[in-house]
């Protein structure tokens, strides 16, 4: 743990220093910004999909609510100090509205219901034109400086990963792990499983709500098909799985890989990136469901067979 903490501190310090060392490398800063944002989002999804094992295909709903809430409040001249926390809480509140019925469902049924919920949310956003501007979306006029965005995304990432690391080692983390591995057994050992799942979803939604704020302020444009889009939900599923489901660092690794593949492939031919992610997803699920961290663990074991290594991610 102490070693992980030291490593994290060095990494954060290095990332804080980047804009000062290379203030004109705007492309690099932009890529890093995206990695931070996606990393935070993937970490948030992983609280529910990885830690608690409740795979959601509708998580874009929370990002969308955060993005729209911030966009609408900013258009009405409300300070970010108010609009960002309110965005997080709105997304959190929405998670309670959908989580309470949806968590009556188990495993794959929950997953399918989340597809329905995600799509229903997108369609509501498209049709509620007076509030959301309908299909054409909402446009904001001025972005905060890039440096501020960079630090905001980094702070969000650090907060999300810190929260995940804390949860994993806590009593709450044990509840989620027990829910993931055997919900009924967890229940008979005194774990209030539905409450635990709902809490995880709430935290996850709040983080995504803030991520939505950052998104809106970066792109200055939100539309139902971008923030509420199914492809956003897909990205949120893919990143943690690539990196390592239910670990702390897995979603981060996934976000780095996701961002790079997207940056490289999106320019060549539309949808090649998603095609690649599909292949990657199949390969990981079939050969190593623990993702990149699982592969790393295997390699480590091959190198020094006697040592018993436990991925502490």
């Amino acid at each position: 743990m102490a070693r992980n903490g030291a490593f994290a501190a060095i990494a954060i310090a290095a990332l804080v220093a980047v804009p000062f060392v290379a203030p004109h490398a705007e492309y690099a800063l932009d890529v890093l910004f995206l990695i931070f944002l996606y990393g935070a989002m993937a970490t948030a999804w992983n609280l529910v999909g990885g830690f608690a094992g409740q795979v959601s295909f509708g998580h874009a709903a929370f990002l969308g609510i955060g993005a729209y809430a911030t966009a609408i409040m900013t258009q009405n001249g409300i300070s970010l100090w108010i609009s960002v926390p309110v965005s997080a809480l709105l997304a959190g509140a929405y998670s309670l509205v959908i989580g309470i019925p949806a968590f009556r469902l188990r495993g794959p049924y929950f997953s399918i219901a989340t597809i329905g919920i995600g799509e229903a949310t997108r369609l509501i956003a498209r049709n509620w034109s007076s509030l959301t501007g309908g299909v054409s979306g909402l446009t904001l006029s001025s972005a905060p400086p890039l440096l501020l965005q960079y630090f905001a995304a980094l702070a969000l990432l650090v907060a999300a990963v810190g929260l995940a690391a804390w949860i994993r080692a806590s009593r709450f983390g044990y509840a989620l792990a027990a829910v993931r591995q055997d919900t009924d057994a967890a229940e008979t050992l005194g774990v209030a499983t539905t409450v635990a799942k709902t809490q995880a979803l709430f935290l996850s939604a709040c983080i995504l709500g803030v991520a939505g704020s950052v998104y809106a302020l970066h792109y200055l444009f939100v539309s139902p098909d971008s923030v509420f889009g199914f492809s956003t939900s897909i990205a949120l599923v893919i990143m943690p799985i690539i990196g390592g489901l239910g670990t702390v660092t897995g979603p981060l690794i996934g976000a780095v890989i996701y961002t790079f593949i997207r940056e490289q492939l999106a320019a060549t031919l539309a949808n090649v990136d998603l095609l690649a992610f599909g292949v990657l997803l199949i390969a990981i699920v079939v050969f190593e469901p623990r993702g990149i961290l699982g592969i790393a663990d295997r390699i480590r074991r091959m190198r020094k067979p006697p040592a018993v290594t436990v991925p502490d991610g």
């Binding site: 009556r104 469902l105 049924y109 399918i112 049709n127 799985i241 090649v272 599909g278 997803l281 699920v285």
Partner: protein
């Protein structure tokens, strides 16, 4: 269209998220045969059904079988990956442009009493009913069909009485995929489509299957009718763009409220 989903769920106890991909692919293959080789869209299923069946069997052998033993969520994710691949392969090959099939048959209508009915709609409806009957006959009257039903009810018991369970699961998966392709081919007669075509429809399929009860073929027919009625009613009261919303809302409500589906709920009411 939804039958395939019910069959695969019933037999393999996995939810085929790739259904959407094969539905879309069925539509594209029909369109491609039509534009490139001038194959009549009505004949396309003759190609699609066997080819998709083989693809389904192959997919089961190579990938699905490997994850059958692990948690259900793993197979869900696997088939989700397959869907991603199919969908985006379609984007790469056929681009995201909207396609539709146009020939004289598609536009033809027939007057029945005072009603103007579209012939393709009638045709698709008739094929839907026919395939339901055919599937029901297959499942109840043939050895293979009975083996499939036995495997669906109790895999181990089926194995004990000498059913080659592995082969049956492969075949059931193949039939499921073939039905999805067939459904897609039929639907291409009615709607224009993009690589995203299958998603909404497939969610509707889930909705239908859940409405009907996850492994009952007759229940699936019930479910289709129920959803069609809900949508038709909904459209009167809200804009057409909200039509899909109804499906999703119905899906979620049904999943939460009637996990056993209409048929299952009726069954337990009758017993209770």
């Amino acid at each position: 269209m939804s039958y395939g989903l019910a069959l695969i769920y019933g037999v393999l106890k996995i939810i085929n998220l790739a259904n959407a991909g094969f539905l879309m692919l069925g539509a594209y293959v029909t369109w491609w045969l039509f534009t490139a080789y001038h194959v009549d869209p009505l004949l396309a299923p003759l190609v699609i059904i066997p080819v998709f069946f083989l693809i389904g069997v192959g997919l089961e052998r190579t990938l699905v079988r490997r994850v059958l033993g692990s948690e259900p969520i793993i197979s869900l994710l696997l088939l989700f990956g397959v869907w991603l691949v199919l969908q985006n392969l379609a984007y790469v090959i056929w681009t995201g442009d909207t396609r539709s099939i146009e020939n004289s048959f598609i536009e033809s209508t027939v007057k029945l009493g005072g009603l103007q009915l579209s012939i393709p709609r009638l045709y698709v409806f008739a094929m839907g009913v026919l395939s339901l009957i055919a599937l029901q006959l297959f499942l109840t009257r043939t050895y293979l069909g009975r083996a499939i039903r036995a495997t669906a009810q109790d895999r181990d018991a089926a194995r004990l009485v000498g059913v080659d369970v592995d082969r049956v699961m492969g075949i059931a998966f193949g039939i499921g995929i073939a039905l999805a392709g067939f459904g897609g081919s039929l639907l291409s007669l009615l709607f224009s489509f993009t690589p995203d075509f299958g998603r909404v429809l497939s969610l509707k399929s889930f909705c239908i299957v859940v409405l009907g009860g996850l492994d009952s073929i007759v229940g699936v027919a019930f479910g289709s009718v129920a959803l069609a009625i809900a949508e038709a009613f909904g459209v009167r009261y809200m804009p057409a763009s909200m039509q899909d919303l109804i499906s999703f809302v119905v899906l979620v409500v049904v999943l939460v409220a009637l996990p056993k589906g209409i048929v299952g709920t009726l069954r337990s009411l009758r017993r209770g």
